[in-house]
Each structure stands twice: as structure tokens, then as C-alpha cells.
């Protein structure tokens, strides 16, 4: 199982803050995970997660969408940060 978190505007647009899902063996990168999520939740997720500004963190470190993911990982999608 991988845990996926959504934050801020992405959380609101998707209407979901956290989910857990089993990654099939061919889902081994962030890009493949995004494809899986769109397949499972419907095409409305495509415009949200494929937006060029979206950032991804794997195990709490920001990484590129070509980075590996595997079961047990904590993945998070969020917009650019705006704290302070």
C-alpha cells in the first residue's frame, strides 16, 4: 500500500485529502501513479494533477515526476508553497 496526500487547492479540487492504494508492480514512478489515479477517479482528475505547477513529494522530499514510487511510500501532491 502507498499513502497519497493532497493539499490546499489540489485537496479542494479533488475533494480528497488522503487515500491508500496498492500499487501494481508496473506503477513504479510518480508519472505511472498519476495515470493510475486518473484511471481510478476519472478524467476530472487529469486537469488537476497534470497541471504544470503541481509538485510531488515522495517520503516528504520534493522529487520529479519521473522518480520511483513503491508500496510503503508516502506520496503527496500540492501546489507551490505560500506560507509566511
Amino acid at each position: 500500500m502507498a499513502t497519497v496526500h493532497y493539499f490546499a487547492s489540489i485537496r479542494e479540487k479533488l475533494g480528497l485529502s488522503t487515500e491508500q492504494l496498492e500499487l501494481p508492480s508496473q506503477v513504479d514512478t510518480v508519472n505511472a501513479l498519476v495515470a493510475l489515479l486518473i484511471e481510478q477517479h476519472g478524467s476530472s482528475w487529469e486537469e488537476v494533477l497534470k497541471k504544470s505547477s503541481v509538485l510531488v513529494a515522495v517520503n516528504q522530499s520534493v522529487v520529479s515526476f519521473t522518480s520511483p514510487v513503491t508500496n510503503g511510500d508516502e506520496v503527496a501532491f500540492f501546489p507551490p508553497v505560500t506560507g509566511g
Partner: protein, 162 residues
Amino acid sequence: MRSLKISIQEQDFSIDDECAVMRAVHKDIGALATFTGLVRELDDENSSQQSVSSLYLEHYPGMTEKNLQEIAEEADLRWPILDIVIIHRIGELKVSEQIVFVGVSSMHREAAFAACAFIMDFLKTKAAFWKKSITENQERWVEAKNSDAKATEKWAETKHKR
């Protein structure tokens, strides 16, 4: 760096209390630079200039603390710092309320000022916080500012001093 306090909290904070903790323990502090960010009534991006009534602040528990720890450690590599306190509030905050506090103590003022500004610049662009601006008629997630990205770039030229 001798001490580092990172706190992400809903409740308000007192600058005096934070400074008092640093001052009480040690006698070698000569300089204490602080920054406090407050909720402003008028928002830069809001072209209608509608008054902001509050902000809503969200973070990524675990990652945000890690981001702030890394920023503080990077500041510590660059300047001779004694103590660092970073506090960031979350949840709903009204106009004039305190959002963020960064306090840096050092023997001399240059290090305290530079590290405090450095931490704020990186907190704005690297720490997992998101801000929603709430006016009477709408709620809007604040967009990341180009000027904040530029503010972090200037530190690339700063040589490591230690």
C-alpha cells in the same frame, strides 16, 4: 547552532516570551533579530482591493517541520548563530494577527540579521505551507509570488562563512 525550536501551532505567540527563553539561558547573546509576519488587510493580488477578513493556513505535518529544520541547518552553515526559533501558525487567522515568527540570536548583529532574512526567504518558498485568502465574498488560494522565488536566488551568491 546551540538551540533550535520549531513549532507549528494554532495558538498565538509572544515575541517577548520567545526572546526571554533565549536570553535567560545564555550570557553570550549580543544580538537578537526577529521577524514577525502579520495578516494584512489588503492583498497584493486581489485586484479589486477587497479587504481580506482572514487567512486560512494549511501545512503538511511532518514534511513542514523537516523543511524548516533543513532551512535552519543551512543558515547555521552560513553564519555563526546561537539560537533559532521558528513559529508558524496554522488554521484561520484574522487581520492583524501574527502568522509567523523567526528569531535568531548571535554574538553580533550581522549574523542575526542575515540568518533571520535567509530563513524567512526560504520558509516562503521551501516550507510546505499553503495560504487561502478569505474576503467577504470569496475564498481564494494565494498564488506563489515570483518575487519570493527571486528572494531565495540572491542567497546563492552568499559564500559560506564558517
